[in-house]
Symmetry: C2
Subunit: 551 residues, 2 copies
């Protein structure tokens, strides 16, 4: 069949089939031609951010909510600005396609030094090889379609970023033959013998255990396996916890949900339940030092069944080609005995809800702020927490549905939340973002709220202003942890939209939230002035551990 | 001799010996211990920026003015934010040391996944290998001193960035034996036979030519060879031009200075003089497509003597181990005949100065703005131009001394100018920065002006507000070239210092410049509202060329 595609229309078509409707970025001369194609495609809407970094963070959040994200930037001066955000997507498993413009294949041979070049023409691709699961330079129209399919399939296979470089003289090159349609629902490779043996062993381990527990990890969200995990829980009666990175993967209202496992940083009874379990079932979980309260693992590997999209480990041996989805399916139909559900809970992680009463004129604290937010969030809220106490405090909030909590919870890169709220709300306009961000992170990327005005989004930003890097103050303090004070509530005047609030007391916070909840036309920013040494309980627990190691 | 150094005190000592008095960055838990050492060293003052990217841009500008720069950031989430700025320093030859904190050597073995990690522990170093001339991980106190010396020497040898990773458990490790003192004035390797032959050939080529011309490139500034080049010019009477990247390397008031060579983008008579020369002497110049007006080279290589710090080429053959400094020295003493100086000029590149008279109430244009600035700059001004028409327009300004013009003139990365003015003024507090920046670039990094307030700096920011990416509009227009409008003059209210001006007319601009010149206490920002389609003459010439190639 004769294709009517060009290289650029094929990229656009395939991204669209992956579920992408918005593409984030900033144009530059090497990518202007492709921007023009995007503009006229009517498939992907261009979202212009102020800075490229923010485009990548927004695309990452978009991918977490919608399943796939894309950004489009120019060569090197754009692409090398998004290295950190792409690394975050890699570390936290978010499938984002980085599309970079580039010098044309022909002009490369004529000129030894073209603007935006670093060392040689391949430098940018080589850098991205370290932080993506696949990359390609589309310098041949005959192989371009296959290359695009290969790279996008890898993003879906691993739920990690990929890199596509488009030389500007290839934008309109016709693709001679269209390849056969790609099945974008990634097919796991299954070895039936390994599957049978592993399911049998797991079943026997679970059945002979006294207090098994499931740790539902981030891959359950990334591969869309929430319903299957629920089925397994409901059939077997085994209780479940989430990790920091997977918070909200299971509705936190579910009766079998014990809470968030965060090692020594979390609630003691969750920690004790998990760490004393005689059968830990890890489903799509990558356990990091943050999951253990920034500590080495306290978990005994002899009691572990650990399956991810990449491999299955039971105790100390591995099975290849079992597959995350297939293994869970097989566990559901296996002969696992049904237990009485625990129903220890629902203690909502210990956080009280719907019982906040503001004390008039009383200086607000971090603890009371989160206490108030607990009753503010609704099933239509998506909570997006930046790094630091914004995240730690937010971990105690009860999230009602799945995928309604976003944070850079393992890679822990400051400045994620404001750009992320743009991507998240475009991915699902039914959700209103509630952004919780410290002043340190806000000074990095917060002005990107301008983009929310441009595209008529209405996030609510809670800015925890403690005049510095609060988490670090507790580890080792010095003037390097202080910030230049900003008048954050004035930002709407600069960016031409939004409402600002300055908050010192509990009742001011209460009233501002009321107003914000009804103000749907634009963003609201609530600058909350806090004591520089104030912090959430979780932060106190965490810094007690960390402080021992930085000196 | 028993050393009293630790790994961190040794880094600090060596950077100090390289001429570094300020270090730019943001702390994080993996680097807090080193920040504490910096704080108490009394040798390097910590300059906290809002974002890591800005720290790297400031360090780059600092290096261009002072000879060496340094930044200090945390592992991955800090380091990977500065990849683009480090790439710029690589491309434009600026010696910057990137010091990154990192997980301790011991904790790496205990934990498979530590926060801020991407793929494995070496990922960050491997990425930096592509954009630095040397890198090291200081994981052994016995070799640390030699490694630090090796890496810093490479930065001086190539005037390019280097990467030093400091695991946090090495910060206080004592260094057992101090290595012998390093000579930080880099010694060129010279082959006397190659030198004699090449100087003889060059002398004969120059003496038999009718209209030789010297192109003084960026390495003349980077290696501090301005006085030598002047000597050569004054002895031989050969006229000289600069390139965009080396603008101001020779005082633009010098009688032998012909102007800036910018290919078809520049003044026609400079272009013609250079391109018709029968003997082009390139000294430390890397000729890029921007130098030729974003075109392939129009220069005939049979008439070329081209020496850089890396090699010497005469016509079509190369000499190794000749050395930039040594070759210039030898040319000075060689038997080159003295010509009558041209004295075609000084036409100041054709730009009129000291003759601007504001027309009251008349809408200001880009051309008139630069016309006015031509008489505003003094020998105490350092002009810092961002990418786009800020740069192209500024190229016509006459710079009175050497090293008083900064721009990302080859790598062309937007957002350089505001962070750069912080580094430049700290590097030389006698100079007052005059920043020329477009609204697109300002929205990327402009809020970093907050750091100028924090450290009591007083740059003057001329913000060319044409509501979008003006350069791109001329290549291929679409809504993706538009920006959300900001009220830039309100920014002082947010960052707690500075003065804002809104300018529509010539007389408003005139008055604001007057006020700014006398307001020494803080920064001034002059938002100049321009017609979206307005642009400098240079931009018009450039976009005529570029526009043919992006569609």
């Amino acid at each position: 069949m004769q294709s009517t595609h060009t290289v650029s229309s094929y990229i656009i078509q395939r991204l669209y089939e992956c579920g992408v409707n918005h593409i984030f970025g900033i144009p530059g001369d090497y990518v202007l031609g492709f921007y023009n194609q995007l503009l006229h495609s009517n498939k992907l809407k261009i979202i212009n951010t102020c800075d490229e970094l923010a485009a990548a963070l927004a695309a990452d959040a978009y991918a977490r909510v919608k399943g796939f994200g894309a950004l489009c930037i120019t060569y090197c001066v754009g692409g090398l600005k998004v290295v950190n955000a792409t690394a975050q997507a890699y570390a936290e498993k978010s499938p984002v396609a980085v599309i970079s413009g580039a010098p044309g294949t022909k002009e490369r041979t004529k000129n030894p030094l073209l603007h935006h070049m670093v060392r040689d023409y391949e430098t940018q691709q080589r850098i991205f090889e370290h932080i993506t699961v696949a990359s390609t330079i589309l310098n041949n129209s005959r192989t371009a379609a296959a290359e695009i399919d290969r790279v996008l399939s890898m993003a879906l296979r691993y739920r990690r970023p990929v890199y596509i470089e488009l030389p500007r003289d290839m934008v309109s090159s016709p693709i001679p033959d269209i390849s056969t349609s790609v099945n974008y629902s990634y097919e796991e490779q299954i070895d039936p013998m390994a599957m049978a043996e592993s399911v049998e062993e797991a079943t026997s381990m679970i059945n002979s255990s006294q207090n098994p527990v499931i740790i539902a990890g981030v891959e359950i969200q990334r591969f869309g396996l929430q319903a299957q995990v629920l089925k397994l829980i409901e059939k077997t009666g085994i209780p479940v916890v989430a990790t920091i990175l997977s918070k909200s993967v299971i509705s936190e209202d579910h009766p079998s949900y014990l809470g968030l496992y965060e090692g020594a940083m979390g609630y003691e009874w969750v920690r004790e339940y998990v760490e004393s379990s005689d059968c830990l079932i890890l489903l799509g979980a990558f356990m990091t030092d943050i999951d253990f309260g920034i500590s080495a693992t306290p978990i005994d590997s002899k009691n572990i069944i650990n399956v991810t999209s990449e491999k299955l480990t039971i105790r100390h041996h591995n099975f290849d080609n079992v597959g995350l989805q297939a293994f869970i399916s097989n566990l559901i139909t296996a002969d696992i005995r049904t237990r009485e559900p625990l129903y220890l809970r629902n203690r909502n992680n210990g956080s009280p809800s719907n019982c906040f009463s503001a004390e008039i004129g009383k200086k607000i604290t971090v603890q009371r702020l989160f206490h108030r937010l607990a009753s503010f969030i609704t099933p239509d809220t998506i909570v997006i927490a930046d790094v630091g106490d914004s995240l730690f405090g937010a971990l105690d909030l009860v999230i009602h549905h799945d995928t309604e909590f976003l944070g850079s919870a393992f890679y822990a890169s400051m400045g994620f939340a404001v750009p992320a709220c743009i991507g998240a709300q475009l991915a699902n306009p039914k959700l209103r973002p509630l952004v919780i961000v410290g002043d340190g992170a806000f000074q990095m990327t917060g002005m990107e709220i301008s983009t929310a005005v441009r595209y008529h989004l209405n996030p609510i930003i809670i800015l925890l202003n403690n005049r510095g890097y609060g988490t670090e103050r507790r580890l080792l303090d010095g003037p390097f942890n202080d910030l230049q004070p900003w008048q954050y509530k004035t930002i709407p005047e600069i960016v031409g939209g939004g409402r600002g609030f300055l908050i010192n007391t509990e009742d001011e916070f209460d009233r501002a939230l009321e107003v914000a909840s009804k103000h749907l036309d634009s963003f609201c920013i609530l600058e909350v002035r806090l004591d520089p040494n104030d912090g959430s309980d979780a932060l106190q627990r965490l810094t007690d551990i960390l402080g021992k190691r930085v000196r």
